[in-house]
């Protein structure tokens, strides 16, 4: 160790299992020195990271957010078409905030035969850093997610007090434009001729009085400065009726009046007065730490005026610097995007959506556009979740156990995670975590569900998986290119879409395609056959719903019933015509309020008079809306939907749509008839995970099959 080059002298190298005798950590989570980065140490950490990323073979990332779904029905369901799934993803990325961003560069060190890693844990908080007036940012918190973070000891104080702020590219441009225009306005107004500005009409008498008064006051103030032996003396306004005081301050070595307590209209008038009547006074707006200040400054001569304006202009450059520093955490994202580095994430589609919407710009409206836009920013992405799922070698090694990051980590990288003694086996890739001694106070030992540590785990899992796939890090030259390696080529830019759809998202083509190893267990969902019903009586259980429709259309008419929540359901019918038939029948029943329609079996569904029905596209439209009510029926209400039944516009159109939909490679039969959930009317904690759905599938399969 002592003979290592200078670089090592500065760094303390923590080798987890390679060299016995070095400091070793006992538990899985405690051994990794993760560098915490906040506002206070951001600048040096960023410079440090620049070098590390440049040298790195790949960079692992992970994000912690304030929530995932803004309403229970926003969860991904088997019944979601891919466009609906993208809408849900988009909603999540737009509404929730990123609070922690883990970045961990991995570099293969041939001389040491191991990967050298630098886990960074950035605390991020969308604080308003610039003195731009106007509304503040707003974000959503999902109570269970916040509670989850708290369970893993997330430090909210550090995040909110010390988190690094950021501006997206769009916001940066806007801020620059705004701040400089504010400056330039001040400048322009001070120089320009009267003719151009006669549009501020002195319409009201009050305005006239005010202008006259101001004119008198400025006159007085200037005269006082000119004749006063000591220009610095505080000039006191003696007009008794007026509360305002002119206090002489100095601005750029010149006497000035600080204009405080005026409305923007009054400021406009003052500006007009100054320009009209005083050649030696300059009205200027200065953007300060937190807000903008208006001042009137005395200049002695025209030359002095010119040099004064020059000085002010130099401030403008400083403003640009400030905007640059307000860009904050986005510098890290820019860094990741700049080099075309291989980015590794675990189940990272949502992460990418967050990164795009927070740091680049608004999310596009379609999945295709989004995927291509991401691909343009990050040309090489590996999703370890997809890698683990689709590689048979790794599947074998993992013994088909849970694919969560931490279980994959402990299975694939037992040496790192358990720090065991026998380190001789060559199948395990070695990792070293480096931590600078200088900033040791900001290091903590990583813990599960902390972004920095999760990024580290992701990277380890990836490197280990590469080794299992036959990549020999040892035999490669130091400058080999992982992103173009044949062995992992087919996994690059293929993302696991985060739901159990049996599809993968291919970034190269921008399309969703069937996952190769996915076993299709259920018949396909045919979206054209689906009817959406909401607002029905809460006591109605899936079974009742099924009986109700079966009694009209025959026992085989229903393929499956899926309850979105207690207020809404998607019903897949066996024939496409049934969709329109149900809608028409419902409409007719509601129009004719005679005894026959009351006795009709379907009327049970219409009790309460709030039942609405429509086709699948309406489901998509409701998901596309930005509101997020807890209950689906309330969500539909909040969109101002006033019709109760949306009849198909024409069968021609429907058929065309169905052609596209049936080809969509999403499928499943969800016989969600157990009815357990139906009781939970107005239940706020109503999350149906994929596992729940699968459970109920199995139950119903045994019942009906």
């Amino acid at each position: 160790m002592r003979n290592l080059p200078l670089f090592w002298a500065r760094s303390q190298t923590l080798i987890l299992w390679l060299i016995p005798g070095l400091r070793r950590f006992s538990s899985a989570a405690a051994g990794v020195a993760v560098k915490n980065v906040t506002r206070s140490n951001f600048e040096p950490a960023l410079e440090d990271l620049r070098a590390r990323v440049r040298e790195a073979d790949f960079v692992a990332i992970d994000l912690e957010m304030t929530g995932v779904t803004s309403a229970p029905w926003r969860d991904s369901f088997e019944f979601d078409r891919s466009d609906v799934r993208y809408l849900k993803l988009k909603d999540s990325a737009e509404k929730f905030a990123v609070v922690q961003f883990g970045v961990c560069p991995f570099r293969w060190e041939p001389s040491r035969g191991s990967f050298v890693t630098h886990p960074h844990n950035f605390y991020v908080f969308p604080r308003k850093e610039l003195p731009i007036h106007g509304p503040s940012y707003e974000f959503l918190c999902q109570t269970t997610s916040i509670d989850f973070l708290a369970k893993y000891q997330f430090d909210f104080n550090t995040c909110i007090h010390e988190g690094i702020s950021y501006l997206s590219r769009a916001q940066e441009a806007e801020a620059l434009k705004y701040l400089s225009s504010k400056y330039l306005d001040g400048l322009a107004n001070s120089f320009c001729n009267l003719e151009e500005h006669e549009d501020i009409p002195l319409g009201r008498t009050a305005d006239l009085f005010f202008s006259e008064r101001m004119k008198a006051k400025f006159q007085e103030w200037r005269d006082a400065i000119l004749k006063g032996p000591d220009k610095g003396c505080v000039y006191k306004e003696n007009a008794d009726s007026n509360e305002m005081q002119f206090q002489t301050v100095f601005f750029k070595m010149r006497p000035a009046v600080f204009l405080d307590g005026f409305s923007s209209h009054q400021l406009n008038l003052i500006q007009l007065v100054v320009r009209k009547h005083f050649k030696d006074l300059v009205y200027i707006c200065v953007v300060d730490e937190n807000k903008s200040w208006q001042r009137v400054v005395y200049v002695e001569t025209e030359e002095d005026k010119a040099s004064f304006m020059k000085e002010v202009q130099q401030d403008l450059i400083r403003v640009e610097k400030r905007v640059e520093s307000a860009v904050g955490f986005r510098h890290v994202v820019d860094l990741l995007a700049s080099d075309g580095k291989l980015i590794v994430g675990h189940n990272c589609l949502l992460d990418l959506a967050h990164i795009y919407s927070k740091f680049f710009g608004p999310l596009p409206s379609s999945m295709m556009e989004f995927i291509l836009a991401v691909h343009e920013k990050f040309p090489y992405i590996i999703d370890t979740k997809h890698l683990l799922n689709s590689s048979q070698v790794i599947q074998f090694l993992m013994k088909r156990s849970s694919k969560s990051l931490s279980s994959a980590f402990s299975l694939l990288c037992p040496k790192v995670s358990s720090d065991s003694q026998n380190s001789t086996s060559s199948t395990f890739v070695r990792f070293e975590i480096q931590a600078d001694e200088t900033g040791s106070s900001c290091f903590n030992s990583g813990a599960k569900h902390e972004a920095g540590y999760d990024a580290f785990m992701t990277g380890c899992v990836f490197a280990q998986a590469c080794s299992h796939l036959g990549i020999k890090f040892e035999v490669h030259t130091p400058s080999y290119d992982l992103a173009r390696n044949d062995k992992i080529k087919k996994y690059i830019n293929v993302l696991y879409p985060g739901w159990n759809s049996g599809t993968v998202v291919n970034l190269n083509t921008g399309t969703e395609s069937p996952e190769s190893g996915y076993k299709r267990k259920y018949p396909a969902v045919i979206f054209a056959n689906i009817v959406l019903i909401w607002g029905f009586p809460s006591k109605l259980k899936p079974k009742d719903l099924k009986d109700c429709i079966c009694s009209v259309f025959g026992p085989d008419s229903i393929t499956s019933v899926f309850f979105i929540d207690t207020t809404a359901a998607l019903i897949q019918l066996s024939k496409e015509e049934f969709v329109n038939e149900i809608l028409v029948l419902k409409d007719t029943l509601e129009r004719e309020n005679d005894p026959i329609s009351v006795l009709h079996p379907l009327s049970k569904l219409l009790e309460g008079g709030k039942t609405c029905a429509a086709n699948y596209d309406t489901y998509r439209d409701i998901c596309a809306a930005s509101a997020s009510k807890v209950l689906f029926a309330d969500q539909a209400d909040s969109l101002g939907i006033r019709w109760k039944t949306k009849l198909g516009t024409g069968s021609q159109e429907t058929r065309e749509a169905s052609c596209n939909e049936t080809t969509t490679e999403v499928k499943s039969l969800v016989e969600h008839l157990s009815g357990v959930r139906a009781n939970f009317r107005r239940q706020f904690k109503h999350q149906i995970s994929c596992d729940d759905i699968l459970d109920s599938l199995n139950v119903s399969k045994s019942l009906h099959g």
């Binding site: 503040s136 707003e138 109570t143 007090h161 909040s638 706020f684």
Partner: protein
């Protein structure tokens, strides 16, 4: 005492309450409220309708909003944001002396009972969180140890879903049918048989096998350490019959009704006690269990219940905002109209007094934009020696000198000062009736609208300066212009396109899509709307960058707020409304007009967005 020195003096005076010391603090609060004259409250939220939201600036409560619309906006805020701190200060007034017992509760809407959480998600405005951070707010304490709560409505849902056995009073059944008699005699023989076995077995010592066999045969279970037996029932009537039967058998049997999930009864469990004392013990055990369960379920809401049941007057600052939050979090979802809200709120708090309203009595004070401004004005202009006396133990406990919840002391101080100035209670007793503003005056709360407990927001400072009364009849909402236009440019262009705009009018951008226009002369608004409806208006609107200029009256705006079309630009929501109800809008001339305030300085400057 000077108000400014108050901050230091009050440091650490407020008792900080989290999950760990909640039960004890609640007990103490109960006695403090009982002995108090008035209770002051104040809460810190994650956002407010006073501050504007980034996406939809028009959600902010604006001067042009009628009380009804302002309520709807406050309702929207109460439904989106969360309360993180709730300060309560019961106090006694003795002339210039105030005996105050301030508490500050830290809240977090955690799902404590794994059944129903108080809220699925909530919004945060970063400016609110940042300003709390600047005060040294401990977010970890709040999220890790904050007290959870459930509203009254949520509690009843929990009870329905997670029933616990209860003691139920016996009400005698009037007439017994034959079937009832048979049922009763069958139950009686069963219970007597069981009772005998239990008594016997307690005297004999048998082997384990025989013991368990006997239990199996007799159906004996254990309730705690006591023997018990379940009797299945299928209706409330049967429950009554069982209770009646059991009460005639023996005194040492305690029947408990076990409810089924949807609310109906499932079984009656009878528990055998060994003596009268044992029976009393059991009863207290059950009672304690119920109380514990209630506290766990209600959480912080117990505090609201304590204040509510005390019937003491409650004072607050910006009551509309605070009480919409209180109603939505602790009582029930907010009703659709202001009137219903007031009725519902009044059932819980009989006497609410808004400091803003009281401040109006002292003219210049109405200009104060926040609590600090009001206090410093009072201090400058009047000599009001108010002495706030605080419980000594509180100061000792809080060595950290936290200033959280000091707002409530400022409210208390302001009230005491106003009270002394307005000579509301010369003898230290609160006069009943005329001087205490009751909730009937509640709508007055809307003046002044944009007051805030936070530091003044720069753009709002001069909002009310040029406010003048105007009828909502004179208001027109206009959209369909270029989104990049400034209000000045728009005004200039409008002046050129139609003669109605030649007269005096004020223009304010509601958001980037829609502007509100108020005419000073009445009738112009109506004329404009009529002309626009006739269609000949837009022909020469070439100057406006898009040709589809549209306008509606105030009624459409009100309807947008009422139907909850918040999640869009105002122009889109207005379009949506007129598309849905063309008929009702054409009859808008008969709408009731309301007074609104028009602040010429409250323009949302779009270049600043």
């Amino acid at each position: 005492m000077a108000a400014s020195s108050g901050k230091q003096r009050w440091a650490g005076a407020v008792k900080q309450v989290t999950k760990s010391n909640f039960a004890a603090a609640l007990q103490q609060l109960r006695t403090d409220v009982d002995s108090a004259d008035i209770v002051a409250i104040s809460c810190r939220k994650t956002g407010d309708s006073v501050a504007s939201s980034r996406r939809h600036p028009w959600h902010r409560v604006l001067p042009i909003d009628t009380p009804e619309v302002a309520y709807l906006k406050a309702r929207l805020a109460a439904e989106s944001y969360e309360i993180l701190q709730f300060a309560v200060c019961p106090f006694r007034l003795r002339g210039h002396k105030v005996l105050a017992y301030p508490y500050n509760f830290h809240l977090f809407p955690r799902d404590e009972i794994n059944l129903i959480g108080p809220s699925y998600s909530f919004s945060c405005q970063t400016s609110f969180l940042t300003s709390m951070a600047q005060e040294g707010f401990d977010f970890n304490a709040c999220i890790y140890d904050g007290i959870s709560y459930l509203s009254r409505v949520q509690e009843s849902m929990v009870k329905e879903r997670n029933p616990i056995p209860q003691i139920q009073p016996i009400s005698s059944c009037s007439s017994l049918s034959v079937a009832d008699s048979i049922f009763m005699s069958r139950i009686k023989s069963r219970v007597v048989h069981w009772w005998n076995i239990c008594k016997e077995s307690s005297n004999t010592i048998d082997g384990d096998l025989i013991e368990s066999l006997r239990k199996l045969i007799s159906g004996t279970e254990l309730y705690g350490s006591r023997p018990s037996m379940s009797i299945s029932v299928c209706s409330d009537r049967q429950v009554q019959l069982v209770l009646q039967t059991v009460s005639h058998i023996h005194d040492d049997i305690v029947p408990l009704v076990v409810p089924d999930k949807p609310g109906g009864p499932k079984a009656v469990r009878i528990v055998l006690t060994s003596s009268e004392e044992d029976k009393n013990l059991l009863m207290t055990e059950i009672q304690n269990f119920e109380n514990e369960q209630d506290l766990r379920v209600r959480g912080f809401r117990e505090v609201i219940d304590v204040i509510s049941s005390s019937n003491k007057p409650v004072i607050g600052y910006n009551c509309l905002h605070d009480f919409t939050f209180i109603h939505s979090k602790f009582i029930a979802p907010l009703p659709p109209t202001l009137f219903e809200f007031m009725c519902s709120l009044r059932l819980v708090f009989t006497n609410i007094l808004d400091i803003n309203h009281l401040s109006k009595e002292i003219g210049p004070l109405r200009k104060a934009k926040n609590l600090c401004a009001a206090l410093s004005y009072l201090k400058r202009q009047f000599f009001v020696p108010i002495d706030i006396e605080l419980p000594p133990e509180a100061a000792e406990e809080n060595s950290n000198k936290a200033i959280h919840g000091n707002n409530v002391l400022q409210i208390t101080y302001l009230f005491a000062a106003l009270n002394a100035l307005l000579k509301l209670n010369p003898d230290g007793q609160l006069p009943q009736g005329q001087n205490i503003m009751s909730i009937e005056d509640y709508s007055n709360i809307f003046y002044p609208i944009c007051t805030s407990l936070q530091e003044p927001d720069d753009e709002l400072n001069y909002l009310m300066e040029h406010a003048k009364k105007s009828s909502s009849d004179n208001l027109v909402f206009l959209w369909g212009f270029s989104q990049l236009i400034s209000s000045k440019e728009l005004k200039r262009e409008l002046q050129q396109i139609h003669e109605v705009f030649m007269e005096d009018f004020e223009l304010q951008l509601m958001d980037k899509t829609c502007a509100a226009i108020v005419f000073s002369r009445s009738g112009l608004a109506e004329a404009l709307l009529k002309e626009m409806g006739s269609g000949k208006f837009c022909s020469d609107a070439l100057l406006i960058k898009t040709s589809g200029l549209r306008a509606v009256g105030y009624d459409a705006y009100r309807k947008v707020c009422m139907s909850g079309l918040w999640e869009a630009d105002l122009a889109d929501s207005l379009e949506n409304i007129i598309a849905g109800s063309t008929n009702s809008l054409s009859a808008s001339s008969e709408k009731d007009s309301s007074e609104v305030y028009w602040g010429s300085e409250s323009t949302i400057n779009l270049s600043e967005l």
